[in-house]
C-alpha cells in the first residue's frame, strides 16, 4: 500500500516542482525586465555615452560566469541576477540614446520592443502548450552559440557591416531556438533552478532585442 502511494505521489510532486520553477522563473523574469527598463531610463536621462554599453556588457558577462554559479543556489543569487540585469539595462540605455537621435529612432525602438515581446511570448506559449520536448535542440543551439561567438570576436576588430548583419540574424534565430529549448527544459525537469532559468531567458530576450534593433536600424527608414 505504501509503495502504491509513493508511485502516485512522485509524479504529482514532480509536476508541482516543475510548476513552481516555471512560476518563479516568470515572476523573476518580469521583475528583472522591469528593473532593467528602469535602469535603461536612468541611463538615458543621464545621456550615457556608448562606451557604457560595452563596460556594462563586460561586467554582466563576468558576473554571469564567475559570481552567478556560486550564488545561484542561495537567495544571494536573486541579488546577483538583479545586478546583472540592471547593468545590462543601464548599458542598453546608452544604445537607446544613440537610436533616439536617428530620424526614425523612436519608431525603431518601439517596433523592436514590441517585436521582441511578441517573439518571446509566442515562442514560450508554443513551447508550453505544444507539450513537445525540444531538448534535442541542445547540441544545435550550443554549437551555434560557439560559432556566433567566434564571429562576434572577429567582428569586434573587423567592423564588417555585412558580418554584423549576419551575426544579428544568426543571434536572433539562435536565441529563438534557445527560448524553445530552455522553456522545454523547465517543463521537463531539465532545469530546476529558477535563477539560472531566468538568467537564460533574460539573455535570450536581451539578445533578440539588440539584434532586432540593429536589423531594423539597418533596413528601416530608407527615406
Amino acid at each position: 500500500m505504501n509503495r502504491f502511494n509513493q508511485t502516485i505521489a512522485q509524479p504529482a510532486q514532480s509536476a508541482l516542482s516543475v510548476n513552481k520553477v516555471i512560476k518563479n522563473t516568470y515572476m523573476l523574469l518580469s521583475a528583472t525586465l522591469l528593473f532593467s527598463g528602469v535602469m535603461a531610463m536612468v541611463s538615458m536621462f543621464f545621456a550615457m555615452p556608448p562606451i557604457a554599453y560595452m563596460v556594462s556588457v563586460i561586467g554582466a558577462m563576468l558576473l554571469g560566469m564567475f559570481v552567478l554559479p556560486r550564488t545561484a543556489n542561495s537567495s544571494a543569487g536573486v541579488g546577483v541576477i538583479f545586478l546583472i540585469t540592471g547593468m545590462l539595462g543601464f548599458g542598453l540605455g546608452a544604445i537607446l540614446t544613440l537610436y533616439l537621435k536617428l530620424p526614425h529612432g523612436p519608431q525603431t525602438i518601439a517596433t523592436a520592443l514590441g517585436g521582441t515581446g511578441v517573439i518571446f511570448l509566442g515562442l514560450s506559449g508554443y513551447a508550453l502548450t505544444s507539450k513537445r520536448d525540444f531538448s534535442f535542440m541542445g547540441g544545435f543551439v550550443f554549437a551555434g552559440m560557439l560559432v556566433m561567438m567566434v564571429a562576434i570576436i572577429a567582428n569586434i576588430f573587423l567592423h564588417l557591416p555585412f558580418l554584423s548583419l549576419a551575426i544579428s540574424a544568426g543571434v536572433m534565430l539562435l536565441m529563438s531556438a534557445y527560448i524553445l529549448f530552455q522553456t522545454s527544459q523547465m517543463m521537463n525537469g531539465g532545469e530546476t533552478n529558477y535563477i539560472y532559468a531566468t538568467y537564460s531567458l533574460y539573455m535570450a530576450i536581451f539578445n533578440i532585442f539588440i539584434s532586432l534593433l540593429q536589423i531594423l536600424g539597418i533596413f528601416g527608414g530608407d527615406d
Binding site: M61, L123, F134, F136, I152, S176, A177, L216
Partner: protein, 61 residues
C-alpha cells in the same frame, strides 16, 4: 567601439565565455537526446514564423 583596450577586453570576455560554454556544447552534442520523427518540423515552423515576423517588421518601419 573606438577604444582599442575596451575592444580587447570585450574580445577576451567573449573568449572566456566560449571557453565556459565549450564543455556544455560538447556534452549536448554527444549526450543530448536525439530528435524523433516530426520534432525538427515542430521546431522549424515557429522559427520560420519568427523570420517572417521580422521581415514584416522591417517592412513596417
Amino acid at each position: 567601439m573606438d577604444n582599442i583596450w575596451l575592444q580587447i577586453a570585450m574580445a577576451v570576455t567573449i573568449g572566456m565565455m566560449l571557453f565556459f560554454l565549450f564543455p556544455r556544447a560538447m556534452h549536448w552534442m554527444k549526450n543530448g537526446p536525439k530528435a524523433e520523427q516530426g520534432d525538427w518540423m515542430a521546431a522549424v515552423i515557429p522559427l520560420l514564423a519568427v523570420v517572417a515576423f521580422v521581415i514584416l517588421l522591417v517592412m513596417l518601419v
